[in-house]
Structures are given as C-alpha cells and as structure tokens.
Symmetry: C2
Amino acid sequence: MKTWRQGREARDARLAAGAKLADGKIVAAGDATSLLEAVVRPGDRVCIEGDNQKQADLLAAALLAVDLAKVNNLHMVQSGVVLPEHLDLFDRGVAKRLDYAYSGPQSARIATMLFGGKIELGAVHTYLELFARYFIDLTPNVALIAAVSADRDGNLYTGPNTEDTPTVVEATAFKDGIVIAQVNEIVDRLPRVDIPGDRVQFVVPSGKPFFVEPLFTRDPAAITESQILTAMLAIKGIYAPYGVRRLNHGIGFSTAAIELLLPTFGEKLGLKGKVASHFALNPHPALIPAIESGWVQQIHSFGSEVGMDDYIRARSDIYFTGPDGSLRSNRAFCQVAGLYACDMFIGSTLQIDLQGHSSTVTTSRIAGFGGAPNMGSDARGRRHPSEPWLQAGQEADPDGPAPLRRGRKLVVQIGETFGDKNVPLFVEKLDAIALADKLKLDLAPVMIYGDDVTHIVTEEGIANLLLCRNADEREHAIRGVAGYTDVGRGRDAAMVQRLRERGVIRRPEDLGIDPLDADRSMLAARSIKDLVRWSGGLYAPPSRFRNW
Amino acid sequence: MKTWRQGREARDARLAAGAKLADGKIVAAGDATSLLEAVVRPGDRVCIEGDNQKQADLLAAALLAVDLAKVNNLHMVQSGVVLPEHLDLFDRGVAKRLDYAYSGPQSARIATMLFGGKIELGAVHTYLELFARYFIDLTPNVALIAAVSADRDGNLYTGPNTEDTPTVVEATAFKDGIVIAQVNEIVDRLPRVDIPGDRVQFVVPSGKPFFVEPLFTRDPAAITESQILTAMLAIKGIYAPYGVRRLNHGIGFSTAAIELLLPTFGEKLGLKGKVASHFALNPHPALIPAIESGWVQQIHSFGSEVGMDDYIRARSDIYFTGPDGSLRSNRAFCQVAGLYACDMFIGSTLQIDLQGHSSTVTTSRIAGFGGAPNMGSDARGRRHPSEPWLQAGQEADPDGPAPLRRGRKLVVQIGETFGDKNVPLFVEKLDAIALADKLKLDLAPVMIYGDDVTHIVTEEGIANLLLCRNADEREHAIRGVAGYTDVGRGRDAAMVQRLRERGVIRRPEDLGIDPLDADRSMLAARSIKDLVRWSGGLYAPPSRFRNW
C-alpha cells in the first residue's frame, strides 16, 4: 500500500534522529559529524553549498569525517567543487556520483579523479541549469548551507553573500529534504531575514566566518597595454555603435580594463549615460571609478566581493541592499537577469577555434562552466526588443522580414592573441575535444559555442561574426584577428582584406584608435590603492592585494 | 552633492507618510487608497501582483481610486493584465506606460486601448523575462502583492499560490522599494513563512480571499476523438521514441488528452516509468489518473490550481509542499526548470505559418506570452546531455561532429487542423504580422518561432521538422499535416510522399495507430466526476465544473 507521503515520513524519521543531538535546532560544531550520520542516508542526493565564492566549509569537513558504515555512496549535487574536502569525499567513498557546475581551484584534481574512475560523473552544468534540475530530477535530500548568523528559530542572515542559499533551500526544504546551516554565530535578533526559519531544520554555530574567495578583484597594476588596447577597441567598436546599456562582464583583466577606461576614454567619446549603465555583475572593485563618475545606474549581483561591504552600504542607490544596509545578492535571479535582461555578455576564454567555439578546458583541467554559457548564449525565448538587440539581429539577417526577425544577444570574446605564458588563444582544435574523447563524454565541454559568439576582440582588431555569411567567411574573420598565432598566419590575406573592406574585420586604425595611445595612464585607477582612494576609503581590499 | 542613498531616503519618506495610516504595519482596507496616495509618487514603476492565476484584486481597485493630483502617469510593470481595473488605470490616467507578460481575459480590450493610444507600450514579455528586467531596468518602486495571511510583523503566508510573490518582493524590497500586501486575514502564527516580514512594509487585511482563476482545469467530457487521436500520435510517435521523461505540458484539451491516455494507451505501450515521470507543471486535475497509476515521480509547479489543495496535501511525494502540508509553487523557478531541466515542451496554438512560426494573437486580441516562449525555445546555454536532447540534436545535424554537436529541446505544437469554430490552424501569414504593422511594433508577437519548433502534430500525422534539410522541405512537412486547410491543400503530393518515405511525415498508419481506435473510452477519466473518483474524493472541483 503506497502511502504517498514516504518522503515526509522519511524526513520526520531523520529529524527525530537528528533532534537527539540538538538543543532546539542548534547542534554544537563538535557534533556536526554525528548529526550528519544521523540524518544522511546512503545514496542520498546531497548539496554542500559553495560556488565560486562562499563555502559551507565546516559542514564539508564534517561530512568527510562520517562513519562509512552509516553514510556512503552519496550523489553530490552542488554548484562548486572548490574545497579539497569536496573531492576527498570521493576518495574516501563517502560520495560516488557528482553533478556540478564549477571547479576552478580543483580543476586539475577533478580531471585526474575522473580519468581514474574515482568519480561517477553525471554532468557539468551552468549554475542556472543545475538550479533548474534541483526542481526536476536532482532535488537534494539534504542541503548543507552557510550563513552569517541564525536566531534560535533557525531564521538565517546570510549577509552580502546570499548567493545560492535561497535556491538550494527552496528546492530541498519544500521537497521533504533536510536543511542544515552552519552559521558564524547565534544571535537574538537578525539584521534581516534571508531565509525563514521554518525551512531550516538544524543550525550549527561554527564560531568563525565561512570561507569566501575574493574572486572578482583584479589589481589594476597588472593590466597590460595590450589589454588596454583591446578595451579601447571594445568600447569604441562595440559598446558605442550598439549603445549597450544592459550588460554583464566576465572575470578577467580585459574587462577590468574596460571598467577602468569608462571614466577616461569612454568619457572622451561622450558615452556617459549612453552605455554601461545597468549591470548584472558582482561588486567588482574595478568598477568603482565608473560608479563614482556617475556612469552606473544600477547593479544586481550574483554574490558579493570581499572588501566591498562598506562601499556597497554607502552606495545603496547602485546596489541591491537589505534593511540592514548590506548587499542582497542572489545568483539565480542574477543569472536570469544576465540571460534575459542583458543585451551583452563580454568575457575572456583560453581557446577559440576556427568555428568560434571557445573553451576554458585544457587536457588536464576541467574548470566547469559556472555562469558564462548561460549569459553567453542567445536567449531565444526573449520577446522584448531593445536597440542593441535589434541591431545585432539585423546585421545577422539583413534580408529577413523585420517583424519576424529576432534580435541577437551580443556575445563578445575578448583577449590577447597570445595569453598567459605566451600560449596562443586561437587553435585549430579545442583541447576540450580531446578531453571529451578521453573521458567518453557525450559533449565536449565548450564554454561558448561559435554560433552564439557575435564578436571577437584582440589587439589586432574586432571580428564581427554577425556579418559573416558562411563558414569560410567566419573562419577568415577569426584568422584575421588572430595575430601571429598559427591560426592567424594561416590567413588568406586577400580574403581578410575583403572582410575588412566590408567592416567584418575592423583594425584599430579603422576605428580611429592609435595603438600607441593604449597607455596605462589611461586607466582611471592604476593600483588597488587608487581604487581605495576613488572609494573615499570605503573599499577595504583583502590583505593579499595590499602592498602599501 | 550626490548622496548615493537617494532611494533609501525616498523610501524612508514614503514609509513615514504611510505610517500615519498604519497600526504597526497594518492598514485598514478602507484606508488602502489613502495609503497608496501617501506612498506612490507620480511616474513610479508599480507592480500589481497578478498572473494567469492569483490577483491582488483589492489593491488594484484601491489604486484605481486614487486622487489623480497625487498619483498619475504610473509605469505598470506586471506579469498579468487580467482584471478590468488593470486597464481602467490607463483609462483614468493613473497609469501611462505598460510592460507586461500575459493578458488572457483582457486581450481584446488591451488591443483596442493600444490602437487608441491609451497605453504607451514598453514591451510584451515572457514571465521569466519580465522577472529578469525587475532586477536590471524595470525594478518596481512599489509592489502591491497578495497573500493568504500575515502576522503582525508582516511575515506572509501565501498558501499554495506562492507564484510570483517571492520574485516581485525580492526585486522591490531590496532596491529601496515599498511592498504592500493584501491578505485575507491577520493571524497570530502563520502556517509557514513564504515571505519574511522585513521585506513587507504595509499589510492590508481584506477580509476575503484574493481572486484566483482555475485556468488549468480541463473537463475530460469536452475532449474530442480527434484530440484523442493527436494525443495517441504524440505518445507513440514522440514520447516513446525519444524517451521523454522531463517535460512541460501547455494548457489545452490536446495535452489534457495525453495526460488521460497515459494510464490506458501509454500503459499498453509499456511506457510507464520510461516517459512523463518528471514535470514542470501546475497541478492539472487531468494528471490525477496518471499520478494514481504510478506514472509520475515529481512535479514542480508555477502556481496552484483551484480545488487541488487536499489532493496535493495527500500526495506530497509528488508535489513540492511546505511544513504546513500545502503546495509551495514558484513561477520563477518553475520557468527556469522548464527552460533548462525539461527535454520537451508540448502545447497548442491558434495559428501556424509555413515556416512553423506560431502565434496566439489575432488581429483584435493581444493575449501576451506568459511562459510558452521561454519553455518552447531551444536553451542554447544548456550544457548537460540527456538522451531525448541528444537524439533530437543528432536528427537535426546528423553529419555534425558528435562532441561539438549540441542537443535540441523538443518543442511540439499539437492541434487539430481546424480548431475552435472551424478556424484553420494553418495560415499563409500570421495575423501577428498585421498586428505588428498596425501597432508599429518592432517585433510581431510570435509565440514560438519556427526554428525552435521540432514537431507539429495534427490528426493527419506528425511532421518532424528536425529532419527537414531546407525551407522547402520544412514548408511541405507542414503542408503535409495541415489536412484540408488551404495550406494543406496547397501541398505537392509527390514531395509530401517523399517526406513520408523518409519519416519526416508520419501518418497514423505509419505508427500502427488506427484512427478508429481514437475513442473516448480510451480516456482514463471521461468527466470531472471521474477525476474526483480517481482522487479518492480529494479533488474538489470549482462549482462551475460540477454538473452532478
């Protein structure tokens, strides 16, 4: 006889087992492993909260220490595989199967473990895609999350790093799952309620802040003149003619250079108020000068950034903040905003092939996708027009009947022809293909597909792929900005010249930009200390970025 | 001197003005208009909560009654333009500009008002797209929302109709906006907390339930044999060969027929457990027999459905429910799930043209988009493979290199060649184009674009557009299932025959289906009363669906 409430009964049994270790909802940090042994069952789908920023580090360590006779063969479903403990779980046999989105610092080890068969891989996702599956076929049985503080009813305050928490909790708590939160401290009254207590079953005070990585801080001192040139090209050759107001910037020095050129180069071009006013973006310190100069109207953020708290609090007109004054971030909504409400995504990559496919995978590293493929894809479900979007659509299909012609999301890849350690950006074949072969993956881990890319910017110029009418033109548009890489040297000079005459390729001189002007003096801030000065002392960079 | 906290200061001033009418956060229903006059400013962006289901009806009426000297020229940014009051606002001059997603029952009047210049149209969106813009460039200054109950701290219980509330509140409350909730009653302790009180500034007890439309109830008695035939074709010709487990069904009798055939026709085909197990779907009463027969593993819902509360509560293994036992719906997350975690969208439409574009617009009605374009589009940001998705991708591009070949979302349009009132489903030119022309819209309001549609199912057969290699094949695949409509009669019989030989077109007999078997006796339930019986008396249909 099917009860139809098996999930609820199982949860009640887990709750009762955990309650023995709890005072109300509160469980001492020293009992965290016992709590997990009491509530987690073999084979459970478990989410340890963590993405590219915040980490439920205490609970990850506690899960690693469980008695294998009680907890084993877990199916981990989580945004980030970032801490060593996340992979130690598989080495020890606590976990067996993995579905995830991002693994930056563990990208080499995760590749080794996949090759060695230590991990049964479900799939590598984007954040939003994994969140989507939390509600359909990858709903967690147990979620281990992180917050700043809790009250005795289990209400949680996440502070500026709300990030994935509401999404993970919603999927777990409303499908008979168990939510366990590590918190820095228990307080009588929360500064604000980020998660209502009735969605949280157990709270573990850790006595110290959860781990947060300052991933979105780029020191202006490390920006090269070649990055400044690509930034100038992007601003004058893309931001200006399309009038891009709503956008997302990827992580990297090239986009940091753009942020730092808005108040100087952008100002000279008269673009203030006309471009780059509304962002889906983390609180990048490099954007401070543009904000202070009045460029930016509004920013919604996936997560926060270490050191930016006081600045955000004092600039609440720009950021989303709570009644406590601190940032309210939300990765799910910001990804949705990046997908459907932004007209441009611009970011860097490691490899681009002749079709324009790009990837951050090398044969020995699987970094995952994070958010870029979601924001760097043409949103075909979009139905509202905007000028940049319509203009891009028209360039792609000038003969199409206007009312039936969709616009296009601008998806821009920006980089130097030779990147870090002089490795060429352009390749005949992506390493991702060799990796897919080696791991027998159905799909090569391509970050952005060529048919979604609209522009490629290097120090040699801009390739506008929207204007290419066939695969051959596309290939030569790419070769034509690939500089002295093998791909670049493989160009047919006459064809590249024809593409340039048509404006498919635009050189710096075609845009009236003298590469000799690409000087570090153009950056609105040339050091972290400059950023602190711009912020009126409100930005407090992490110590590793301080050299004064 | 810029303060950078103008939004916060403005909110504090609005709060202070509203507080004069409030006891704590509570404002009497009779003072609702005065409250709005106190806190709403001319030109504000205002969201009145309401979609295709729940409506903040008391607050809509209260806003309509404001003194025009105090409140005028509002920019309404809301999911649904559904109540007459929503349009009366524009007639009276309270509101001026409109961005919205859905306007089912007001579709004729909204068209007339647009023609007459009474409304300044921003754009028609999908739900998810409008939500996205709430965080970027259409953030509400004031949100008027609806909940079942509140406590004195302003914590809200939405009950099963959570729907858009968390999204609207998040965008408004964390960007210095004012959230005003109408609630049926004030209680001492909420059954669960759907919205934390610190995001809600004012609560107006209305003394009666907010309006909810039972939009997803289809009476099995009205299902025709021709709809049963198309349902059989879909199940045997699409669900089975692709093995579609994760899906969304649009509203309509054709998909209701599918739901009612799973436990009969589907069972005979041995498909139980192999297809239709995980849904992004409202609690359709027509799915009860499939649930009771063990077909369905999990459903996440955009909203609830009138009469389904007790059934949901007793079937918590299937639905997402809260600690109070009732449904927790969430439109934003369910739309994300439909976009990224479902392999198929199947729905009906009013018109399909020769390119496969479809639209529910007629020259005199603008129904809006709701959710279909989002779910009925190929999600190019998707990175996780599944068998149906890979198979569809391979059919579309059999010669593409496997690791670089993306899969495809199955997007199925199902309908009878002649629909309601014998109007042909297939047309040479969509009425949407004439409408775009008349209203000078940049984009014709196309529901699903032809390049996203993979299959069209009519009583004449299935057209698999994935297998078409050019526009001519595509046109004839469509003509080949268009029956005796003008479009169907315009077919080149030899070409249609060739497409049939290639399996691009499949007739009932090609699938071993005898149209004479398409009999109402095949439906697992043939009336609303049957559904009540299947539910063990737990389903309580609204009175208008009761005829016993």
